[in-house]
């Protein structure tokens, strides 16, 4: 029986000719990632694995991005723990404030992930790198410690769901709308323990940023990973960023899938996830009047330059509605600089938005945009669980950058098609 794309990458890294769904394997890792929340626990566990140094100082990435720039003394101590360990172990890929970006935007930008790689990260959104034809998945701190010490991790080989994409998006519809649409369709455990493999002629029309966003939220459907085939779009990105030669895996023609789901991209509408689950979706025409207090545009999901351009195209010459705060978080220093040079910050600041240095801050209710009791936010982030962005009685509505920007202008959740763009 044939293998899926994911199974082929796993088999290769486990030095096996083939694997099948359900099999338990030990596999070699190309990269092990941790942040200021998860790495301190891993660093604490590290000595228990009986090693004094990491398996490869170039294959460990430490990114203090969650509560940094340090939000309080305890957070500062956690970041210091990473800094000290990175120094002692001479970790090449340690990115402190100033070089720091949100990890899942930063690692591809720095060329640390290539096609065919096997990556684990002690952060659930590590699945983002499937956009580049890599197998990547989120794990916990003990797995991270094990990975840093031994260069290996255990995996249960996943079965897969195939998403066969055709057509192309209509105006203002993006990768975020597609992944919210899918999660709404299959549920927050709809792909539990499985791979989500995206194929079909529609893939070619998806930008690399769309693919990052889609793979990023595979975890919100419970998936182990989301993955795209390697095509011209992937190769162009890798050529610009990654020095290593891409290793291209393709699913076998007779690979077995638990489900095949056909999606015509032209039929996907702007989609919003209502509180308190990403699967609680409504298309923009079904939203009704939902008044908002805050808009967040950024994060590992939607802090790419294309996301900021989309938001700016709508905000240009407009004002953020009275009594609404609009916060912009470019995901990396490079994206920050590009946005600045392109004049996007003039647009944001003139319209009344605040622009922040890169941080995960508000997405997980850490800092830089916490909600009070009863407040509502439209956010381009990835989770809207109870209390996610602040008070247990606050609400988060997940949406695309276009819907978020339109909502900032109107003061309630709005369809970007209703905003007259300035030339």
């Amino acid at each position: 029986m044939g293998m899926t794309m994911t199974q082929k990458i796993l088999a290769h890294h486990a030095n096996l000719d083939s694997v099948k769904a359900g099999q338990l394997i030990m596999a070699d890792l190309d990269l092990v990632l941790g942040n200021d929340i998860t790495a301190p626990v891993a660093i604490n566990e590290f000595p228990k694995f009986g090693r004094t140094s990491v398996f490869n100082k170039e294959k460990v990435a430490l990114v203090p991005d969650h509560f940094s720039p340090n939000k309080d003394i305890k957070a500062a101590e956690q970041c210091k723990c990473l800094r000290t360990f990175a120094g002692e172990q001479q970790i090449t890929n340690y990115f402190d404030v100033g070089q720091m970006g949100i990890e899942h935007a930063l690692l591809p930008e720095k060329g640390l992930v290539g096609a065919g790689d096997l990556v684990i990260g002690a952060d659930s959104h590590t699945c983002t790198y499937g956009a580049l034809g890599a197998f990547s998945t989120g794990v916990g701190s003990t797995d991270m410690a094990c990975g840093m010490a031994t260069g290996q991790a255990w995996f249960k080989v996943p079965s897969a769901i195939k998403f066969n994409l055709t057509g192309r998006f209509s105006k203002y519809v993006s990768g975020k709308d597609l992944i919210l649409h899918i999660i709404g369709m299959i549920g927050v455990d709809g792909a539990l323990y499985q791979s989500m493999e995206f194929v079909g002629e529609g893939v070619a029309s998806l930008t690399i940023d769309d693919r990052f966003t889609i793979a990023n939220m595979a975890i919100e459907a419970g998936a182990k990973n989301g993955i795209f085939p390697v095509d011209e779009v992937t190769l162009e990105f890798l050529n610009d960023h990654c020095k290593r030669k891409p290793v291209v895996y393709e699913a076998d023609g007779d690979a077995e899938y638990e489900r095949v789901i056909d999606i015509d991209l032209s039929e996907v509408k702007s989609t919003v996830s209502f509180p308190h689950l990403p699967s609680n979706t409504r298309t923009i025409d079904q939203v009704g009047e939902v008044k908002i207090d805050q808009v967040v545009i950024g994060s590992c999901t939607n802090g790419h330059i294309s996301d900021l351009r989309m938001a700016a195209s709508l905000l240009k010459g407009k004002k953020v509605a009275p009594w609404v705060r609009c916060l912009i978080f470019p995901a990396t220093q490079q994206i920050w600089k590009d946005a600045m040079h392109e004049g996007l910050f003039d647009i944001f600041i003139d319209s009344g938005c605040a622009v922040s240095t890169p941080t995960c801050g508000p997405c997980l209710g850490g800092h830089m945009g916490i909600l009070a009791e009863g407040e509502r936010a439209v956010s381009t982030t990835n989770r809207n669980f109870v209390g996610r962005m602040g008070h247990v009685k606050s609400e988060v509505y997940l949406a695309s950058p276009a819907v978020a920007a339109a909502s900032a202008i109107r003061g309630f959740i709005a369809d970007p098609n209703q905003i007259q763009e300035e030339k």
Binding site: K71, K74, A122, G387
Partner: protein, 166 residues
């Protein structure tokens, strides 16, 4: 190995943000985390939980973040076992890696309610509702995971494996 305790009963999709809210993740101290365990879903949990108590939930327990602080907070609060219909995958592997016993058993979830006294026999996977007198059989773990659990978690397992290979 056995566990016995009183049951805290929750529903579907109990996420790691309600198990341990991110506002407390500026520490990884288990005892500190345990003081806020389940805070955003059940404010009474911390006040009522006793050593040995058991959490029973429905689908997709532990969904969301990869924070190992979630199973750690549960373990440090004294909970001896979590039983659910299904677990989210990162929570599942984190629990096994740190030695928090978890069992998937939909029938037990149908037959156990809040406050019931439940005992669990980890060697044969039998879950007994002492209050109603009904016994359920949970899914057995594959051999690899049994070895992990017996070694007390991933660190112990890898150390054993390393010793065996050298």
């Amino acid at each position: 190995m056995q566990a016995k305790g009183s049951v805290f009963r929750y529903g579907d999709n109990v996420d790691t943000d309600v198990i341990i809210p991110a506002r407390y993740l500026n520490t990884s101290n288990g005892k500190e985390l345990a003081m806020h365990c389940m805070e955003d879903i059940d404010g009474e949990f911390v006040k009522k939980v006793k050593e040995g108590d058991i959490i029973v939930a429905d689908k997709n327990f532990g969904c969301g973040s990869s924070r190992e602080h979630a199973p750690l907070a549960i373990k440090e609060s004294g909970v001896s076992c979590v039983i659910a219909r299904t677990f989210a995958r990162i929570f599942y592997r984190n629990s096994i890696n740190i030695g928090l016993p978890i069992l998937e058993c939909p029938e037990a979830c149908d037959g156990i309610k809040a406050g019931d006294i439940v005992s669990v026999n980890f060697s044969n996977g039998k879950i007994t509702n002492e209050t109603s007198g009904v016994t359920f059989q949970s899914e057995p773990f594959p051999k690899f995971m049994q070895d992990l659990i017996e070694a007390g978690g991933l660190a112990g397992y890898m150390a054993k494996k390393g010793a065996a290979n050298s």
